[in-house]
Every structure is written in structure tokens, then in C-alpha cells.
Chain length 410, copies 2
């Protein structure tokens, strides 16, 4: 069995991870920022050094293309992820997938493999969505889900305009997004969740990606004095809100579904010790890999809110903040991942991606799948984000196997 | 039956209520502020006009004293409340009690009554506690619960020093707090709760005042990705916090006690839609008129927090922010209130004060009680605070009767 160059891969992850640190050593490479430019420059230098053709499209997506005259007419196999980060990030999220893609290509090149189709290492713009909304903007634009003009006109949280920033840092490319329709797309990524580690698996063969429903709920009760208002005469918006998250947790436990529900934000008004909350504003994040189940869960939430409104004597309104349908990945690629892990002796399980990834966008135009490796304590978007080097290497070797299978399949 | 001068009382309530309004017509007379000075000046002018002797003590408490050579050696009957307000206040809280005290004295004077003991109308400094902590600072100092030096050194939320502010506005008096130990103390006040209105009573004979226990609870869970962390692998500080208020409500309903429990403040960290809360910080306000029951309720909370900590896999700590024992008022005065209301045909009930009042401080040194009148919708600390004029007059007439009884009893 071939293997990638483990030392080179891990050295590059840490070298890229050292770019964009502030004086407190916090890592932040927001999309199209000066730090992002520094990271992009380093990546492009590596792509060039590996002998790849580099293309940048109009939304700043970077492609390292390995092709020759013989296979240039074939649809490429695309491998990728992103190198922009959140604020105070870890070094693996996204970067691992991009650098492993480069590593796999270099390994194959060094071994003299002659692929039947081009292989491309891609780094998509603004996956994190911290500076510009929506997240996964680069891959969304690449598949035509957002026009290039609209994407370039996006105004960031800092008032900047994405198109102007891409010009400024030298990554407003000329290729038209979508210029190469992939034969297939593969993304290697850290899990960003605790499942693989807790259950003792090395590799997750990601067969689908959760649908997401975000709602903001506002409950209006009556502010009254905490001392003078008997319990039975209250319309307590805070207690009404408290019921929502607890009910959803019980409902999901009873249903035995893989759904998740999170009340991540909460605000009381007037937020005073001795005043019954007149208002509670909170968000509900619902996810499920099955569209029918996700819709049913949304209906359960709606019914719950009506019931709580009646029982608690409060007014409840809610607005949808975001809604994405679940994505099913390509079964053939998922099986290829499993075949590799069996051959290499890695414990593997099929799983659902709970987070959003560029793969869900590319899946609109090409058969796609993802490979996950364990995240220590399930932590990501945090400097404590960690994956054991052995697991990083294992994931890259599985990627190598699947790539070999695809470029050999013709 | 004698009656007070209803028009004069109500006109004064509204005249005082017009002092301290900002350009948006919001009423705010924080203790020892310029607006408070203006209110005090008006009150003192009325006290003088009524022929009363005016004394101001070192902590700024104002006393309008009606006495003569014959009764000057007797302990005075003290009637009072406060004229400082919260931010964006109503016009009744406190002011009603002070102005009704003045009104009762004027009525008795005009009728040629010769009391066997002095009668004093008192306005205590900083009852609301918005600018300086603790609340009821003036009456607390008056009864020796706080030294004058400590009280004067109190630093306000705006960085001001109470003693300096009292000097500045001309209300750093010379009388020693506690200079006159009352024979008895009576405070007429709006209920600030919904009970009298909802149950159709005109007068509340307040026989006790709830004990108060304030705690701040901090729950530490684990922040994880809302999409990638299965429900069973979470340590959700927000859900753990949600259980507390709901449990206390159920517990109190089962116990059939008059206890109240309020979770009035709540803060999540990191407070992001797609992150499981790592921390929830909230307050619990527990009140009960019975000390044993209040202590038992605190124990129930402690046990609950331990249990939630275990069941939810979270760390829980809490700190006590405030603790006041319940206060029992004087049964003789409460009965005198009931005798008056029966004679006048007012529907009355005995009740507990859920809010703190100066009466709870004066009760440490003299037999005390309170008279409540209805608050529309239970609202106070708000411009919508309202009591019907008939109820205001009814309360003042009951106060008049009780005063007559006390000063006639000798």
C-alpha cells in the first residue's frame, strides 16, 4: 500500500497554522483579510513547488491542477476544503483537507502515477462565514448557488466589500466559478464532534450532512415584582422559554432519532433579579440528516410554542433565520472509503456531518463525499482543536486510496 | 367619621410626581440627586406650611414633627415612607405614604385634635437602592443597622459618595439618626402586586413581610458544536439552568405555600446560535414570610443544584447575594387597621408584603405595620403604576383612623 509523506503533511499543517497569529499567538485568518492573503500566498507557493497549475476564480477560490495533455479533456477529480479560519482558531479545520489534497497529489506524482483524469486541490473562499455571510460562500458561488456579482458585492461584518478585498489582496482571479465541473469531489476534514473519539473509530465515512433549521423565538409575558406577585398570577417569559429546550431534548430522546436541538442563545428582559421576565428571546437550532424528520421536528416546535403560549399566558412569535435541506453524499464514494479503511485495518463507521462543509455545495454538481478523522473532545473553532498525528495520516492515506480508485476507474 | 382632604392629597401626589421629569416626561428622582433635592424641597415646604417642625438627620432622613409642650416628652407616633424613585418611575411608590402621613397630620390639626404624643411624618433616604446600595438605607441607618459613617461613605453606581451628595443638595442634617424612638410606626403604600385588585379588596392589612434570599448560580458545562455533538454527549449549561426555575415552580405548587421563586436574570456563554452553552449564569430570588419555610426552600434549591450537577454532567457554584429574614408586624396595629376597614365598609384582607419597605427596618425598634391599597395590574416601578383615587383616599382614611386610635390610646 502506498502512503503519503506524513512528515511533510504535518509540517505544512503547522506552518500554515503559524500564519496569521496575533501578538497573543491567537490564530485568525478571516476571509480576504491580510492574514488570509498570507495563508493563500503560502498555499500557492506550495502548489507551484509541487508542479501544479494554479488557477484562481473570480470569487477567489484557489485551484492547484495536476493535469497533462493526455487527460486534460477529462472532468477532474476535485479534492478540497478551505483555509480561512474563525477568530482564535485551531490549525486543522479546513486546512487539513486542503493540505492533504496537495499531499495526495504530490505522493501520486512522485510515484509516477499517470491519472486518467486531472486531479485538483481546491481551497474555497470564506467557508467559515465569520467575515462575510453566508458561510461556504466560495463553493456556493462555484456551483452557481449565488451569482458572482452578488457574492463579490457581499458586505462584511466590518463594512468591507468582499470583491474589493479580494482585489486588494490579489486574489480576484479571472477564471469563471464553475469553470471545471468535477467528475467527483472528496473532502477530508476533522469531525468537529466527539463521536469518533468516544466510540473508538479512526475514520468516519460521511454519507450525509444534516439539514439545518434556525429559528429565533420571542416570548412576551408580563414584568411584575418578584416579591409581590404570587406564582399563580405570573406570566413568566423566562419559565416559558425554559420549557422549550427541555421539551425538545425529551422529545428527541423518546424518538430515538439522530436529531439534535440546541438553544444556544438566551436573553431575558428586563433581566433584573427581582423582576419576573417580561420577555425572553432565544434561538433554536434543529438538525437532522433526514428532511422529513427535520420538517417534523420543526412542526413539533411550532406546536410546542402554541401550547406553551396557552399554558403560560404568554405571546410567542418566531422567525426563521436559516434553513438548509440535508445533503446525501455519493454511496459509491462512501463505499470506496470503507473499502480503503478495511484494507488498512482502521476502525470505521458511517456517519452524518453535523456541521456544514464545502462538500455540501459541490454535491449539487458532482458525486461527493467526506472523510472524517477524530477531534479530541469534539472541540473545534478553538485553539484546543486537536487531532492525533496518526489519525491525520490515516485520513490522508484513505483519501489517497480513494483517489487512486477514482483515477484508476477512468 | 373624619376623613382626610382627598383633593389636597391627590393634588400633592401629582405635584410631587411632576418634579424630576426629563424632557421625555420620564420621572426619575434618584436618592440625593438634583431631582431628589427638588422633591425634598417641595416636601419640606409643605411640612413648614402645615406648621410642622422639620428635622433632617445626618443621613438625610426628613421628619415633619407635630408636637406641643404638653406631649413633647412622649415617644412619637411615626408615619412615613420615602420620596426617592427608581428610573422612569410612577408617582405613587413611597410618595403616597409620605404625603398621606402629612395629610393625616394636617387633618387632625385642622380638626383641633390634641394628641397625647407627637406625630411625625417621615421620608427616608434612598429606599429604592437604585443609586446607592443597600436599599432602605436611610431607615436601616435610623435603626442602627448601619453606622452613619458607613452609610455616608457609600459609593453610588455613578461613583458618587452619598455623604458628599447629601452635603451638596443641602440635606446632610444634624440630627442623629434614631434621635426619636417611635412609639409605633405606620406605613401606607401601594401594594405593588396584583392580589388586592384580583381578589377585589380595597385595603390590605399587612401583617408580615417576606424574607428574601438572593443567590447567583453559575453552571459550567462544555461548549460544543450544536450540529456535531449528539444529544447524549452534551453537557449543556443552558438546559441545566432551565431546570432550576421550572423545578422551583413545581415544588412551590406542590407545597401549597405562599413562597415565590423567580429566575429574573439569565446569561448564556458563548451565546451563539450553533454552540452548546458552556456557561449559564442566573439569579434565584426566593421569598417567604416564614423563616423556617424560606430556609427549607433554600435547602431545596441546594439539593436541586447538586442533583442537576450530577445528572447533567455540569459544575455548579452559587453565591448568596442577599438574605433578609421575614419581619412580623405588630398584631395590635394590624387589628386596628382591620377595625377601621370594617367600620368604613372596605373589603380587607390580611396579607404579606412581598416587597421590602422602610417599615421592616423601623420594626426593629418599634411596633410597626403597613396598610396596602391596590395597584392596577400589580404594576409598579413603571410609569403605568396606578391606584384609583378612591383607593388612595380609602387608604389614607384608614391611616387616619389608626393614628387616631394610637394617639387617643395614650
Amino acid at each position: 500500500m502506498q502512503t503519503i509523506n506524513a512528515e511533510r503533511l504535518i509540517a505544512r499543517i503547522h506552518e500554515l497554522g503559524d500564519i496569521g497569529r496575533d501578538p497573543q499567538a491567537q490564530l485568525t485568518r478571516l476571509a480576504a483579510s491580510d492574514n488570509d492573503k498570507a495563508g493563500r500566498d503560502r498555499l500557492v507557493a506550495w502548489l507551484h513547488a509541487a508542479g501544479l497549475e494554479v488557477a484562481v476564480d473570480r470569487i477567489g477560490n484557489i485551484f492547484g491542477i495536476w493535469r497533462d495533455e493526455r487527460n486534460a479533456g477529462e472532468a477532474p477529480l476535485m479534492l478540497g476544503s478551505h483555509i480561512d479560519t474563525v477568530i482564535n482558531a485551531g490549525v486543522y479545520d479546513g486546512c487539513y483537507g486542503v493540505l492533504a489534497a496537495l499531499e495526495v497529489i504530490e505522493t501520486l506524482k512522485e510515484r509516477g502515477v499517470e491519472p486518467v483524469r486531472p486531479v485538483v486541490a481546491a481551497a474555497f473562499t470564506n467557508e467559515e462565514g465569520v467575515r462575510y455571510a453566508p458561510d461556504m460562500l466560495g463553493s456556493l458561488t462555484y456551483v452557481g448557488g449565488l451569482t458572482v456579482e452578488a457574492a463579490l458585492a457581499t458586505v462584511g461584518t466590518d463594512g468591507s466589500v468582499l470583491g474589493e478585498e479580494l482585489e486588494r489582496i490579489g486574489y480576484a482571479g479571472t477564471a469563471e466559478p464553475g469553470f471545471a465541473k468535477p467528475h467527483a469531489y472528496l473532502e477530508l476534514h476533522i469531525e468537529q464532534g466527539p463521536v469518533l473519539e468516544r466510540e473508538g473509530f479512526t475514520i468516519g465515512a460521511v454519507e450525509n450532512l444534516q439539514g439545518i433549521s434556525w429559528q429565533r423565538v420571542t416570548i412576551d409575558g408580563v414584568a411584575n415584582h418578584a416579591g409581590t406577585t404570587p406564582m399563580a398570577m405570573r406570566c413568566d417569559a423566562g419559565l416559558a422559554a425554559a420549557r422549550v429546550g427541555l421539551f425538545l431534548r425529551e422529545h428527541i430522546a423518546r424518538s430515538n432519532a439522530p436529531s439534535v436541538a440546541t438553544v444556544g442563545t438566551m436573553r431575558y428582559e428586563p433581566d433584573a433579579i427581582n423582576v419576573i421576565p417580561s420577555r425572553a428571546v432565544f434561538t433554536v437550532d434543529l438538525r437532522d440528516p433526514d428532511e422529513a424528520r427535520l420538517s417534523a421536528l420543526e412542526a413539533v416546535l411550532s406546536e410546542l410554542l402554541v401550547r406553551i403560549g396557552t399554558e403560560e399566558g404568554v405571546q410567542i412569535s418566531f422567525e426563521r433565520l436559516a434553513r438548509f435541506q440535508p445533503v446525501d453524499f455519493d454511496q459509491g464514494i462512501v463505499e470506496a472509503i470503507e473499502t480503503s479503511t478495511k484494507r488498512r485495518g482502521f476502525k470505521t463507521r458511517r456517519m452524518t456531518s453535523g456541521a456544514g462543509h464545502d462538500a455540501q455545495m459541490i454535491a449539487r454538481i458532482a458525486p461527493s463525499a467526506m472523510i472524517f478523522v477524530p477531534s479530541r473532545d469534539g472541540i473545534s473553532h478553538n485553539p484546543r482543536e486537536h487531532t492525533e498525528p496518526d489519525d491525520l495520516v490515516a485520513g490522508a492515506n484513505v483519501l489517497l486510496d480513494v483517489v487512486e480508485g477514482v483515477i484508476g476507474r477512468g
